[in-house]
């Protein structure tokens, strides 16, 4: 019975998916392929690829995604190393490190912004340690900081996965490494990191982080406000999500919904392509 009619069991979930997932997606694709009069056309896409602000957003999104994925991984590893060194209060330390995971992204965007952190930071570095001022308005400063704050949110998840991978590995491997004279850092570098990188779960988390960062919206939105880019497009804070948001909700830009749909489709395609490339890369690294 079940063997023959297994597909019947899929019907409920397919119904739900088609309402909340397939319909909007297909409608978006449909819109992107129609002109103002409802005629079929590729004009939206040709207009999109000739739009400099679109390419700006593609570059911004990819930059932030790649940077924040790398940052999140490194930060997660660093947290893991710290926790492994703690012999006491490990539970408390873990709880503290997990806190960013519970924060709303918009709050992260506000917390990391110039007036809350960086002004005070500069006061310290300039007046106490006597380092020169740096400009908080420079692209070279705020794009990495945006990526870092994205990463800051995800690092705890990386740390959790690292810890569970370590707990699953046979303890005697670590004992053997210690007995062979490896220092804590050597154990971490030569034994722990390779086993973490090889883990399929970790590869999955890295890919997930990349996808998440491709859709980054709240943190760029906050920075866009701080830097005074709220009413313009084409700035270095405009990820594809933020770009789409501005096009839709700032009427003065006058982008037709069909063109916006084409950009939304481009975002999905870009994410899929990026994800595929990453999966390939990681599985090659794992072997």
């Amino acid at each position: 019975m079940v063997e023959r009619y297994w597909y019947l069991l899929l019907i409920p979930i397919l119904v739900v998916l088609s309402v909340v997932e397939f319909y909007p997606l297909l409608y978006g694709v449909y819109l992107s392929l129609t002109g103002p009069n409802g005629n079929a056309t590729l004009a939206n896409y040709s207009q999109m690829v000739s739009d400099g602000d679109f390419w700006n957003s593609v570059v911004v999104s990819l930059t932030i995604s790649v940077l924040s994925t790398i940052f999140a991984f490194c930060l997660g590893l660093a947290l893991t190393f710290l926790i492994l060194q703690a012999t006491k209060w490990r539970g408390l330390l873990e709880a503290v490190f997990l806190a960013p995971l519970a924060m709303a992204p918009i709050a992260v965007g506000i917390v990391w912004a110039p007036s809350t952190v960086w002004d005070d930071f500069q006061t310290f570095t300039h007046f106490i340690i006597r380092l020169p001022y740096f400009s908080e308005l420079s692209v070279l400063f705020y794009v990495p900081v945006m990526s870092l704050s994205e990463a800051w949110e995800w690092a705890p998840l990386v740390m959790l996965v690292c810890m569970s991978i370590i707990n699953l590995t046979s303890k005697s491997i670590y004992d053997a490494a210690r007995l062979n004279g490896a220092s804590p850092w050597q154990v971490f570098r030569d034994i722990t990191i390779p086993s973490i990188v090889r883990s399929p779960v970790m590869q999955f988390v890295i890919v997930l982080q990349f996808i998440n960062a491709m859709w980054a919206f709240e943190i760029p939105l906050a920075w866009s406000r701080w830097l005074g880019f709220s009413t313009s497009v084409g700035s270095p804070t405009d990820t594809l999500s933020l770009f789409l948001y501005k096009l839709l909700f700032i009427p003065s830009f006058g982008y037709p919904i069909q063109l916006v749909s084409a950009i939304a489709v481009a975002l999905i395609v870009l994410t899929l392509v990026g994800t595929t490339v990453m999966v390939r890369l990681l599985s090659k690294m794992g072997n």
Binding site: A177, R178, N180, D190, P194
Partner: protein, 387 residues
Amino acid sequence: MEKTYGDSKCLNRVSFTVSDGEFSVLLGPSGCGKTTLLRCIAGLERPDSGHVYIGEERVDAFPPGQRDIAMVFQTVSLFPHMTVAENISFPLKVRGSSVQAMGDKVREVAKLLSIEGLLDKAPRELSGGEQQRVEIGRAIAREPKAFLMDEPLSSLDSPLRAQLRAELKRIQREVGATILYVTHDQAEALALADRIGVMNRGTLLQYDRAKNVFERPSSVFVARFVGDPQANIIDVRVVRADGPAAFPQQSQPYTVIGEGFRSSIPATTARDILEKVRTLQQGGPQADGAIQVSIRPEDIQVATSPGESGGEIKGRVVVDETLTLYRLLTVELDGDQGQASGDSPGRTSLKVLSGKESKFGIGDEVWLRPDLGKAHYFERTTGAAIL
């Protein structure tokens, strides 16, 4: 050394010395503390009190890596992302050896263990036996002062285990290694060891030459644990033939009596036993010669009819197991032969060996003649050896 986990004493005043170049085996049932002892020696765990000396040096404060000890674990501990060669050279790499020196050492070790063909493989591509070989290779490569081995062969199947066991012994001779080896398998211990330490419940009961542990067990536990098939342990009393041993007098025949068990014993032995028991028990309630005797199955002769001189114990075969070299019979003793002593409920049964060709079958009446000259006697309450 002492160590306590919660309420349970894991290591109870354990103290011993492994001589240079010696193969020492700690033998005991699982949970007896032998692995904990090994981990304390390695520095992976911290004892509550006690000291570890390697050579003349006290290493209590040293981290595991500085004790210059290699350890082979029960579970595979090869680094999964490194090749066999990288695994073997890891301890050298950590110490900053040159690539040239590492390559030479890896080849030398691989030759010793005949794993030259495996050097470029990953650990997951190896069989269990090959993995364990590589583990041993990694331990040898760094030329440590001593080796600790925690049941390294227990995860292998039986023929492979025997093969690797012989090889381990050969390698130990060739390298002149000092090894402290832990196992629960008494056959493995007897096959490998120069010296055996028998442990139970955190206590080192006996630490002696392998031969002595087998022939002169210090306690009833050692007698029971070492030897395959297991020794027969029965509750008995030593009495004068005509009654309870009130006071041993010369030239009186003595008898060892248990539930269904009765066998005469040389007068000198009997007097020694009684003397010793009296001192041990200090006139306690049981100061009547109540002891335990351990007789190995191979020290009991079995026959289908009573001999001319008499004195055999009558019994009935209840279990007949054919083992590789002999048959192991379980013989239930007739109840009416001995004196009901009241302190060993149920019938006594003895395990005895017989040749593969012998014609005893289940239910057959047999007569047993134990060789009490080779038996061991133990105090009943403490289990300490008397003779």
